[in-house]
Amino acid sequence: MIEKIKRERMLVAFTLLGFLIIAFIVVTLGNMLATQVIQDLGGLIKVTQDPVVLNSIWLSMYTAFLATLVAFIFGVPLAYILARKEFLGKSLIESIVDVPVVVPHTAAGIALYTVFMHHGGLIGAPLSSLNIVCEDAVPGIVFAMLFVSAPFLINSARDGFKSVDPRLENVARSLGASQWHTFCKISFPLAFRHILTGSILSWARAISEFGAVIFLVSWPRIAPLLMYERFESYGLSTSRPIAVLLIFICLTVFIFLRLASMRWQRHDSD
């Protein structure tokens, strides 16, 4: 045993280093969850019955879902194009897709506000004449979430389509399938695991967004904003149970979808 450790010195050191960062994550979340459950289970239970909290969590989940849906509808086709076609400016487009990831959320929030504000917003004004109001309204939340979360879905879906051998598509076409039929029956199912992973990430990213949303929409309050307000107004003991509940819900969804995507028959190559 000792001999083995000596032989594998580097791996042992690596494991220790890696362990620290895992421990950091686990301790940070675990400590909060444990503290809440042990010291103030009542507070947690109360929060699960507070309609304001539940409403805002529901709002967050729902808008995040909408944002992911929109990202899916517009992003999956884009991902397919990026995976399959070579064209001038492609790497520019790819960089643009990544930009929301590098832009600070609050700056993105200000940008979103500038564009989507009711009066004079480049997009907000025309939309509001269609009776779609973004400022302080659900569409605004969805747009803000979309901005920050779409890159995750697009990049993941692109990797997915790239992992599908174009020859499979060629064969399908030679067998008489149209481009669209080929996409539906071959490319999409084979890239599905990647797309699902991307959607989970995108949803998680959307539900956790705070900075970008609050500039445009401070009402209705998404869960992160409610939590911040509660923290500022009443402190840790009031806001922590909401955090615990939210984390719990997110982790449940995450674990569930992750298991689902792992069980999804692994026909793809990696």
């Binding site: 917003g121 400022e135 009402w219 840790l236 009031t238």
Partner: protein, 320 residues
Amino acid sequence: IDVGTPQKVELKVFHAGSLAVPFGGQGNVTMEKAFEEKYPNVDVRLESAGSVATIRKVTDVGKTADVVAVADYSLIPKLMYPEYTDWHVMFANNKMVLAYTNQSRYANEINQDNWYEILRRPDVKFGFSNPNTDPCGYRSQMVCQLAELHYNDSKIFDDLIANNTAITGRLENNTYIITVPDDISPSQRVSVRDKSVTLVTGLEAGGLNYAFEYQSVAKQHGLMFVELPSQIDLSSVDYADTYKKVQVVQASGEAATGSPIVYGMTVPKNADHPELGLKFVEFVISSEGQDIMESYGQPPIVPAVGSGNVPEELANAVAS
């Protein structure tokens, strides 16, 4: 590079959003700059929030502040006495106005007498800050309720507030009690923001036509504003009894009763640098500080008025 500049003493000032400009704005002369000039080894760091949130940061979140300055002095005895402090000074006052810009709808029509009619129009969007976290917010409610009395129009509060939000009002023992739930659910016609200053952005951007603001804020941001009658603008000690007729019950259960707008300031007991905190308070109520307040449209109370166990250091600057 300033990453906290360790050799300097940090003086933490938690203040109401409406004090942001005179305290730490971008003007050439602010409390922060003037004080740091006077005490070069001190680094003033300002944290701005709604007045209630400002106090809660100390009392509930467990942060330490050397000075707390809020837009409603009465919050200090109500929320901080006796555990966190046992004194405060009243150092400035203010009045409620209805701010707007020249792009606002009906900007050329509005005046002291018809403002509530214009706010009633369905194509007008107006805003106030959150009554649960900002005194300016609950004062906006009071203004609307008092307007019913003043203009003799019993529908003003219902039309402007009750029908657009989950806030309700009722008459009880000759007092108008306005209840603000946690979930205000504003309609598309009104905008509720955390701090009144935020509404300025809406006005400037055109998303908002009118907003209830402190006069100081309106002035500082160069907005146009409707001066409201003294009977309802919560500025005059003369109408203190009138103001008293309204009461706002916040979601937390705390009740705020109408009173003239007077800014209060204190040094919490758990401050890291209580002496410096006192120095800062002293500076704000000194004539130099009062000049600064004045220059930003925030009329100082001269001399400042102390209440409770005012520390000796301040005794000669304060009337009680």
